[in-house]
Symmetry: C2
Subunit: 193 residues, 2 copies
DNA sequence: AAAGAAGCTTAATATAGATTAAGACTTTAT
DNA sequence: ATAAAGTCTTAATCTATATTAAGCTTCTTT
């Protein structure tokens, strides 16, 4: 198991010493995930924090009409998981599914709590991780309550230059909260400008 | 200065010892805020984490057309602040304004970082605070991309039983991302059901 | 007490975005 | 290699929500 990607991920923010690296390595499990494979399904309890070494995932909810609504995408060097379910240990309402063949590292809750207790640095790193994710979500909420679909699409493309060539417009529409047909219309209008 | 409310707030989650209470007390500044008074304005850097002892605040953005969009309300026993500006030390795009005469405790950034470094318990508490806020925001995003305005209003009322009698419908409409006129129409339809 | 500001509602009209349906194209699985 | 599944687009029609404007009511300030 090549743990370099996650060690690098942590060390960029706060360098880890040998002890901390060893503790981290003993907490992670490597998994290979196929395209379309789920790592979380509605009704499951989310038991792991997942770090993506390679690949791409979507996290979404299926509503009462069977429609999917994408809450989040994550790729290399990012994290994914249903924090609500993870901490409350209640059933999740979300699915997490691989959009590409992927390699992930997972940390189970007891192992994460052990890291928090014995190596304060991880506590800090995860506080900062969640703070940053929170700040991003706030921006998205503001956009959702104050911008048109076209503005949101333009902004999504600008802020996710990597993703745009990697996932389908159907997935992007679901993230923006619009139908694929309307996204197609928006793209046509933008092209003619 | 009666610091009981904030000590109780922390102790409910993780009891504080005498040392920690003393450290917390020396970090906080009490302020009385009048109705319509700002504790943050666009262009300011957010220098404090704010705990609300009594009263009610809204945090909002003013868009290019001069329209306000409410991102968050907070009341007694809650926190408010622009975390993005607080941690990045960049200018905020948000306003935080009292909707009622209020009493707050503020912790300046150096004092908070000092607490984080010297009393790990605060690190944990603030990680959990942000995690919970993050989980709530995720639910709100899901609702925004998957529900009608009527569903969002019904849900807002159900989840904020205290607020509903306390703030105007204009403020609620701004939070939901709709116009006050349309909210009025929704309320009429709900009443006739 | 009076004046002004803010809040709530109604209604007519306009627009953003959804729905339905269909056809062409591309990718994936057998 | 072929069928099946998924993708993208177009267009017609429909619906949710915005805009504008007006009138009435309730707070807030002097």
């Amino acid at each position: 198991m090549n743990t370099q990607p996650i060690i690098k991920h942590f060390s960029t923010y706060l360098p880890l010493n040998q002890q901390e690296i060893a503790a981290l390595e003993s907490a992670i499990i490597e998994r290979n995930i196929k395209r379309k494979q789920f790592i979380l399904q509605e009704g499951d309890i989310c038991k792991h924090y997942t770090f993506i070494v390679q690949g791409c995932f979507k996290m979404y909810k299926v509503d009462n009409y069977g429609n999917e609504h994408n809450l989040q995408f994550s790729t290399e060097d990012g994290w994914i998981g249903d924090l609500g379910s993870f901490y409350s240990e209640k059933k999740s309402e979300l699915y997490i599914e691989a959009l590409e063949p992927s390699i992930i590292f997972q940390i189970a809750k007891p192992d994460l709590l052990h890291l928090f207790t014995n190596h304060p640095k991880f506590n800090i790193k995860f506080r900062v991780l969640v703070e940053n994710a929170f700040i991003q979500l706030q921006k998205r909420i503001l956009q959702n309550i104050s911008s048109t679909a076209e503005e949101r699409y333009v902004d999504f493309i600008a802020n996710h230059p990597g993703l745009f060539n990697r996932i389908s417009n159907v997935q992007i529409a679901s993230y923006l909260g619009i139908t694929p047909e309307f996204l197609s219309k928006i793209r046509k209008e933008l092209a003619s400008k």
